[in-house]
């Protein structure tokens, strides 16, 4: 399974309607068409902060995994909201620090008009295969192998 397919098969990625469109060499890109149900406002469509964040966390994670080749849970994330998001979203992520145990990735989010609506930086754990992290407990072996093989 390709890394792109693996991310696009994540249940919450499917439920929210996100799609990873490109991934490799420490970078990734993804899209999220904005629907009524994503809004923080009953009277208008303005993306809820959690919608924008979900795209950030997913695309950032894909960028990290494309380098680490292992399950890489998010350790922490800071997101800054720069403008309201009222149209379809796309995100671009790039690893800025690729460490043996942690990676740092920057993710920028734009709306359909190219406005910069959010900017985020996250730290991910990149030695997830060591079995030390509880995030990997429920992870199927074949998934990790598929992931590693994709690197």
């Amino acid at each position: 399974m390709s890394l792109k397919s693996m991310f696009n098969d994540i249940p919450f990625v499917e439920q929210l309607g996100m799609e990873i469109t490109a991934v490799g060499d420490g970078s990734a890109a993804g899209e999220l068409p904005l629907r009524d149900g994503h809004s923080s406002n009953p009277e208008a469509i303005i993306a809820h902060g959690g919608v924008t964040y979900s795209l950030v966390d997913t695309v950032g994670g894909a960028a990290v995994v494309s380098q680490s080749g292992s399950v890489s849970p998010t350790v922490d994330m800071r997101i800054d909201y720069l403008a309201p998001a009222t149209t379809d979203l796309r995100a671009e992520a790039e690893v800025v620090r690729d460490g043996g145990s942690v990676s740092v990735v920057d993710t920028e989010v734009y709306d359909a008009d190219g406005h910069h609506v959010a900017s985020a930086r996250g730290t991910y754990k990149t030695d997830g295969n060591s079995g030390e992290s509880p995030w990997t407990r429920g992870v199927d072996d074949s998934e990790v192998e598929g992931l590693a093989g994709d690197d």
Copy 2:
């Protein structure tokens, strides 16, 4: 309309299945029953980081608005993931700095067994009624009045 109802009527709050259970005096609490579609893993139910964050952003925002009495968009948020979340989530938020233009709120997330799964701190804008912020453009006047009246 009560502040609690206003938050529970937000489209994304409904779609994700969140519920604000208490709000007032700079505090708020909320719940999120974990469903298959919230998972970051096709083989098991482990909350996607965006699911946990969405609960944080919503409950934190409710705590802020209970003091500010105005539309209070998130300026920035840092979330730290402390343990994997595999059961229903609940969150508790408390304002730690109540300023005239910005408020800072801490939100803690626990699973059904009481494990501390995430911890977050966010800065919200609290002078949203001034019309200066683009986040308020789509907001219905009656909603803001309801909000202010609820304070």
Copy 3:
């Protein structure tokens, strides 16, 4: 008094040996020659995290004030350390969101060889003249006027 002089006259800026070298239109730059006393290590000169941060907070603040024209205290800051800093430091800051009540500024730190050693993002309060913030209590009126006049 120019904005550059005002920042360079700050007691801690002088004590640490920092210098603001350029400021205006939402941008600023500054330098910090690394001394033995700045080290986190008795055996070698590796900048203490607080030294690098102090340069970030100062240069970032100068960038914000060049736009806001008012006392602009830091609300919050996230700094990421990307590589150890063992030579003289320089920083470049640029405002990425210029709001009526808060501004967000990105600051990058490089060593003498051009390596990217730290990256930070901070939120500053930009309505400091309103008297609402306690940070402005000790501030001399003439300083604020000088500041506003410099804008």
Copy 4:
């Protein structure tokens, strides 16, 4: 050498006048008497953001090292300033996540009157002895052994 002495012998800790007063079992405390040279204001003594941060980074690091027993460089830190600091500072740090490769620590700063002036959360790398991190390159072996022995 005790862990407390090791931190108090750090050149920048001495230069700024900080002192680690207690450390052990994932906790630490420290003090910083406020001097004229620490101010962000030529007319009054208000701690520069970098002064407060330097205390946070040091006390937080001591708490982490008391558990990790290895050189533990800061990966990232978020600090929130809650009130102006105009008197002597003291800080208390406690590890909230003790991982094999990263630890997360919360540090609170109070002034001499007990006011809560700043609150921070940082992620530190805790497998520093592996030689993978460039931060450990300049570190003397005896220091690392002393550190490990102190654990």
